[in-house]
């Protein structure tokens, strides 16, 4: 079954349009069904060429891109796409190789799921990417789950109502992760953000800092409540939804 892309006007309440580029019919079919069930508008493409053309002519709010397309290499597609579009991209990688994930994230992907993936996992990634990022003038409280509260305006972090004394770096790490809640943040990204571009290799710094931050948050890495490690890739702040 094929679903025509409905020409939608830029109304505020319009459902988000998701473009799925995957060559496997079964994957397109179940993504189509489950994404539409969530109220998204779905467009489908089975080759990189068709997908890029569809994105260029009709646009999309989010792209789900399979890395193993028959006509072109996924990394190459990402590179070309990023030349002219800033649309959020979730890549589907078939190998559980962390190197491919990192390469895709480096090439401009915003997040990844590994095939075979659960629909709930994919939907959580989509929600995290479609959520508007808090900007400077926006909300100052970027996270509050009733236990942990992060307030950017006052640079205040509290745990169970008690203010938490964090070092400058600890605060910066927590704020950066929380600002990207639900999305993976790669190690080089964090190192560049916190220590500057000359320290992107110094992952040891990051490990120590994360361990300290977790300790202060009483967050257990073996059963994390907020900060999840993706081995070999980076960190992810668990999104409340």
């Amino acid at each position: 079954m094929s679903v025509p892309v409905a020409p939608t006007g830029p109304t505020v309440a319009a459902p988000a349009r998701i473009l799925v580029i995957d060559d496997e019919l079964q994957i397109r079919r179940f993504l189509d069904i489950s994404l539409r069930a969530q109220g998204y508008q779905v467009a489908l493409a089975d080759t990189a060429g068709a997908g890029l053309e569809m994105l260029a002519t009709r646009g999309a709010d989010l792209v789900i891109l399979d890395m193993g397309l028959p006509d072109r290499d996924g990394l190459e597609v990402l590179g070309e796409l990023r030349l002219w579009s800033t649309v959020p991209v979730i890549v589907l990688t078939v190998r559980s190789s962390e190197r491919e994930k990192v390469a895709a994230l480096d090439a401009g992907a915003n997040d990844y799921v590994t095939k075979p993936f659960g629909v709930q996992e994919l939907l959580a990634r989509i929600r995290a990417l479609l959520r508007v990022l808090p900007d400077g003038g926006g909300m100052s409280v970027i996270f509050d789950d009733g236990h942990l509260r992060i307030d950017l305006a006052s640079r205040m972090v509290s745990l169970g109502g008690q203010p938490l004394a964090l070092s400058r770096k600890e605060y910066a790490l927590l704020a950066f992760l929380a600002a990207h809640a639900g999305r993976v943040v790669t190690q080089p990204q964090l190192l560049r953000e916190l220590w500057g571009p000359t320290h992107v290799e110094d992952t040891h710094y990051l490990r120590i800092l994360v361990a300290k931050l977790r300790q202060k948050l009483s967050d257990d890495a073996t059963n994390p409540r907020w900060i999840v490690t993706e081995p070999g890739v980076g960190l992810r702040f668990i999104s409340p939804d």
Binding site: S96, S97, E98, R99, P116, G118, Q187, E201, D202, T203, H204, Y205, L206, R207, I208, V210, A211, D220, A221, T222, N223, P224, V228, T229, E230, P231, G232
Partner: protein, 497 residues
């Protein structure tokens, strides 16, 4: 003391003869004037013996004659003539000549024997060196290398070894690549040398009981040694030693190839058995459940439908893990596993593996104890996480419902030690090593346990790649199983500045 060349030049021998005679005259004169020595023939005898022991018989005879004349001329009355007045004087000089000739001959023969013995000894020690170094060489290439260096170091001869290969097809390619791998100049030298060898007979054939193995071409013509039969014997026996070593290396290689082929064959059939049994089981469930849903949708209750759908999902995930295992196994088997080390917390690794496992086994219960002093480790994160996942999955599989799987990580003996325990049936002592063999569980086939029997094999492979080890121990308190993973902690570089 026998360090003079084996073949002293004749001219030098005769010069020595003249010099020795002259010296004998001087010494005799001095001895007569200062010491008053009566029988001066002994001084001349000494000169003859010295020359004879250091040269061949020719110079020895010359010395005897010279000494005879000098003795007669300078010291036998009347002096300064060759005329001998007294009868006893005549007897003395004639006896001297006879004794000198005899002694000279004996001495020179002795010297030659000593020289020959020395050269035999040297040959023996060269062969000993060759034998010792050949014993250490295990491959054909190493043997060729040893041959090259022993010939060069011990005999000062450069050689080129060319090996024949049994199958003509292979031989062409091998010879070709061998030729190509040599620098052009070297190759030219080799062929020059081979031509020279054929012309003048400097090719040594490598022979064994299995026939010709190749040949050795000597680079330098060896004019002197070529004429020497003992040197030729040495070269011949060295070539035989090399041929013996080559034959041995070939037999070993053949045996090994056969063993590997057998092992591969065994693994292949085990893999086929595993694929047909363990991969078909979840597929059968998936196909069956999906078909039931399709055919009886209307009549199924909501909970039945849900159960069938659950089957499809969990069996699909199981299938996925099997395939991941097979892929990991292939990667390990091909040695294509490049470690990409990075800093990672042990708690983070354990956490990630547990989180992944929870998706498949939401009912599994874990108790983790991570040493507080554990620093981040320098490992390939994804591999160690996969290794932990495999062990945890196994533990969860065998754990009785409601009982926890324990994870205990600490520093012990400069190693990161992670122990994963379960309270399941445990592993009999005799089987504890065998659980790490590929397809172990598959071979017990019908026992009803699911799994490719690769999980622990892969775990050991991945931890082994880090220089660590994995072993199965009885559970704490005698119940269940404890898998101990150890990764050396000293392989970490200092944290970058």
């Amino acid at each position: 003391m026998h360090d003079e060349p084996a073949n002293p030049r004749p001219a030098a021998g005769y010069a020595l003869a003249a010099l020795a005679s002259l010296l004998a005259v001087l010494v005799a004169a001095v001895a007569e004037r200062l010491i008053g020595l009566d029988d001066l023939s002994l001084v001349f005898m000494l000169a003859v013996l010295v020359v004879a022991s250091r040269t061949r018989s020719g110079p020895a005879v010359l010395t005897a004659m010279l000494c005879f004349l000098a003795y007669n001329f300078f010291f036998i009355e009347p002096r300064y003539t060759l005329y001998i007045s007294a009868r006893h004087g005549t007897t003395t000089v004639v006896l001297f000549l006879a004794a000198a000739l005899l002694a000279g001959r004996l001495a020179s023969r002795l010297a030659m024997q000593v020289r020959e013995l020395g050269s035999i000894n040297r040959d023996a020690s060269v062969r000993q060196v060759l034998a010792r170094r050949l014993a250490e060489a295990s491959s054909e290439d190493e043997i060729v290398q040893v041959a090259n260096s022993v010939f060069e170091e011990s005999l000062g001869v450069r050689i080129h070894v060319s090996l024949d290969h049994e199958e003509p097809r292979e031989s062409g390619a091998a010879a070709d690549s061998r030729e190509r791998s040599q620098p052009p100049a070297d190759r030219a030298a080799a062929s020059d040398c081979r031509n020279a060898g054929q012309d003048e007979g400097f090719l040594l054939e490598l022979r064994s009981i299995k026939g010709r193995l190749g040949e050795i071409a000597l680079e330098s013509p060896l004019h002197a040694t070529n004429a020497n039969p003992s040197r030729q014997r040495l070269l011949r026996s060295m070539a035989d030693d090399i041929a013996g070593a080559l034959l041995r290396a070939r037999l070993v290689a053949d045996l090994q190839a056969e063993r590997i082929a057998n092992e591969t064959e065994r693994l292949r059939s085990a893999l086929l058995a595993s694929v047909s049994h363990d991969l078909r089981t979840p597929l059968a469930s998936i196909i069956g459940a999906a078909e039931s849903l399709q055919s009886f949708q209307a009549t199924l209750s909501a909970s039945d439908r849900d159960e069938l759908l659950h089957t499809v999902r969990t069996e699909g995930e199981r299938l996925n893990r099997y395939i991941q295992n097979l892929l990991d196994m292939t990667r390990l088997g091909h040695g294509a596993l490049a470690l990409r080390r990075d800093w990672i917390g042990v708690d983070e690794l354990v956490g990630s593996a547990i989180a992944r496992l929870r998706r498949y086994r939401p009912d599994a219960h874990f108790e983790t104890t991570i040493g507080r002093d554990l620093e981040p480790v320098w490992v390939h994160p994804a591999l160690v996480e996969q290794a932990l996942f495999n062990v945890l999955e196994n533990a969860a599989e065998f754990s009785p419902p409601g009982e926890p799987v324990t994870v205990d990580a600490r520093l012990a003996d400069a190693c990161l030690r992670i122990e994963i325990g379960d309270l399941g049936p445990g592993i009999p002592e005799a089987e504890r090593e065998r659980v790490f063999k590929a397809f172990y569980s598959a071979r017990r086939g019908e026992s009803g346990r699911s799994g490719t029997g690769l999980g622990l094999t892969i775990c050991r492979g991945m931890i082994g790649a880090h220089g660590g080890r994995v072993e199965a121990l009885p559970g704490t308190g005698g119940r269940g199983t404890r898998i101990r993973i150890e990764i050396p902690a000293d392989s970490r570089p200092a944290p970058s500045e």
